[in-house]
Subunit: 352 residues, 2 copies
């Protein structure tokens, strides 16, 4: 077994880390959001009878599930198997993950008092997550491990709505009606998210991705006023690893999401990467590094169509200062895993 420090120095030449730093890697790095999950039969097998949150707090299982797509597909990064609500659960907030529904919050947070009563998260409450990361670093060798956290806005939406929401109406109503409570809540969630990521970095993740899955439901004006300052506090607090910032439907938010402190900006399929890079460049000081942006639904088409899209995306990514190949959103559960493996092989055969 290689020691963690040896691995760390070799990992610095890993294509994902080279690309994240704006360099030209040997081949385009590729990984897939939700690569560890329901598309894999080996995942469904180890999750049989194990509730989601129990899995997230069992280090050996987190390690096994995180490793599965690395072994099967040969992707250029592992991403810590976790869930957006894990830090809330660790802090003692009543949240469960209900199969077929998603996170369900026992007592939705909709008042100033409820926001101020949220418990803080202590690093010691995340020992199981840190253990999983140490196991993973020992197994992963040269393949970098990406840490994972939901952004304050997306966490707030779950807490306010009480669960997944299509229109985020209570969230937006609170934001506009009571900015003081809003900022108190987002501040508390930013602190929790920061602790969650700090523990991951201390335990050995070599990059982090902040998922603001629902940010794309906001106008840029509201994003800048109500969300950006809190995500920026999180990203500013994380040091020593590249920071990826991702959301869906964020064409209008990309420069703001970069300004929040991202080294790499995730882009969904609605905007070509060369156009995304142009928009980011107009607002930044250096060539942007982008991640994306294959439509996960396209993976269900014939492979000829998939190949055409992958080649286009890699070509469009050349306009940016760096490009990490990924989907524009998570792998859909009914994706054929063999298609993902073929995409990795194809990407690795292309010139970055």
């Amino acid at each position: 077994m290689t020691s963690v420090s040896d691995t760390a120095s070799r990992a610095a030449t890993a294509p994902l880390l080279v690309a994240a730093a704006g360099g030209k890697p040997a081949h385009p790095p590729v990984w897939f959001m939700r690569q560890a999950g329901r598309s894999l039969p080996e995942y469904r097998k180890v999750r049989e009878g194990v509730p989601m949150l129990q899995a997230c707090f069992t280090p050996e299982l987190v390690c096994e599930i995180t490793m599965q797509p690395v072994r099967r597909h040969g992707v250029d990064a592992a991403i810590l198997f976790s869930d957006i609500v894990v830090p809330l659960v660790a802090a003692g907030i009543g949240v469960d993950i209900v199969p077929g529904t998603g996170p369900v919050v026992a007592e939705p947070v909709r008042t100033r008092a409820a926001a101020e009563a949220l418990p803080a998260l202590e690093a010691g409450q995340l020992d199981k997550v840190a253990d999983a990361i140490r196991l993973l670093r020992a197994e992963l060798g040269d393949t970098p491990l990406i840490g994972f956290a939901g952004a304050p806005f997306t966490l707030a939406s779950y807490l306010i709505e009480g669960g997944p929401s299509r229109h985020h109406e209570r969230t937006k109503a609170l934001m506009h009606s009571d900015p003081t409570t809003w900022h108190a809540l987002l501040g508390a969630l930013a602190a929790i998210t920061t602790t969650f990521l700090e523990v991951q970095v201390a335990a050995g993740v070599q990059a982090v991705q902040l998922f603001d899955s629902w940010a794309g439901t906001l106008a840029e004006r509201d994003y800048r006023e109500f969300v950006l300052p809190h995500s920026a506090r999180v990203l500013d607090a994380i040091e020593g690893v590249p920071k990826i910032h991702f959301g869906v439907g964020t064409s209008e938010l990309l420069p703001a999401m970069r300004e929040a402190g991202a080294d790499v900006v995730g882009v969904d399929w609605r905007l070509p990467l060369d156009e995304a890079a142009r928009r980011l460049e107009r607002h930044g000081t250096a060539k942007p590094v982008v991640q994306g942006n294959l439509d996960p639904a396209v993976l269900l088409a014939d492979f000829d169509a998939v190949e055409g899209e992958v080649r286009r995306i890699v070509a469009e990514g050349r306009a940016a200062g760096g490009h990490i190949v990924n989907l524009g959103h998570g792998v859909l559960p009914n994706t054929d895993p063999d298609v993902l493996t073929r995409v990795v092989e194809l990407v690795h055969s292309l010139t970055p």
Copy 2:
């Protein structure tokens, strides 16, 4: 009772029609998508025990439901109460609307044979809809009536997926894997949609709105190749009334949606109307007319916040060649109807 022809000439000065033609109306016209619906207690009362599709094919009920928000809020337009699947049902395609789920298709259309076997829609199958429109024109007086249809892409998504879908994965897979079947299906749906709107125009609607609710899930490249030609066939076939073209999350598609043949382009809240107008103007020959774009979720906030947003939107709309005030998506069921009435009063007090 006023005759339809008298009403038609007076309606030409209706603020909505003046704005749609790029003129300056006496006050900014305002209506709300889904203004006739679950936010109104009088709607819930008349729908008690009446299935959605039965309501859509009962002229007196369509008339009553369409009139309710006109009476209550004093909006500047009525929109025909209908559903996106009504022309499919009229044509004999097996679709039902299941409460809490939405449209459910008995036999999803996923093959060339199934696409080619779709029945055509004959005008005579829409007599109940035409009757409803004639009743409405007699009741509405000077208030214009907007016709309603779902666009071919959005209809295709329901038919292919078999019901509502979050990721439209089968739809996109078919589009990319089998363009021949795709275009056969969209062509059949464009013909059905055209007939649906032609019947409405012949019966007396004074504007039409083509709802491509899901178009925003597509990249512009795919929209232009797989969707625009079919929506353009529909819009080109409709003559003599202004044509509004609407979708959600369409920041990147607005110029293409205008090019499809729209006189008015609907914009959701993600993009300010002045920026939307700039993007549309770069691609068009005349100042664009826009519709939108209050976030429906904001209607659940304190009225001070609502008022601020409405004033901003009316101010931003001045940059366009014309502006019809509306939401960026439909009224949410839990909206307080009194807030809608106050928004109408506020809009009418402002300078266009």
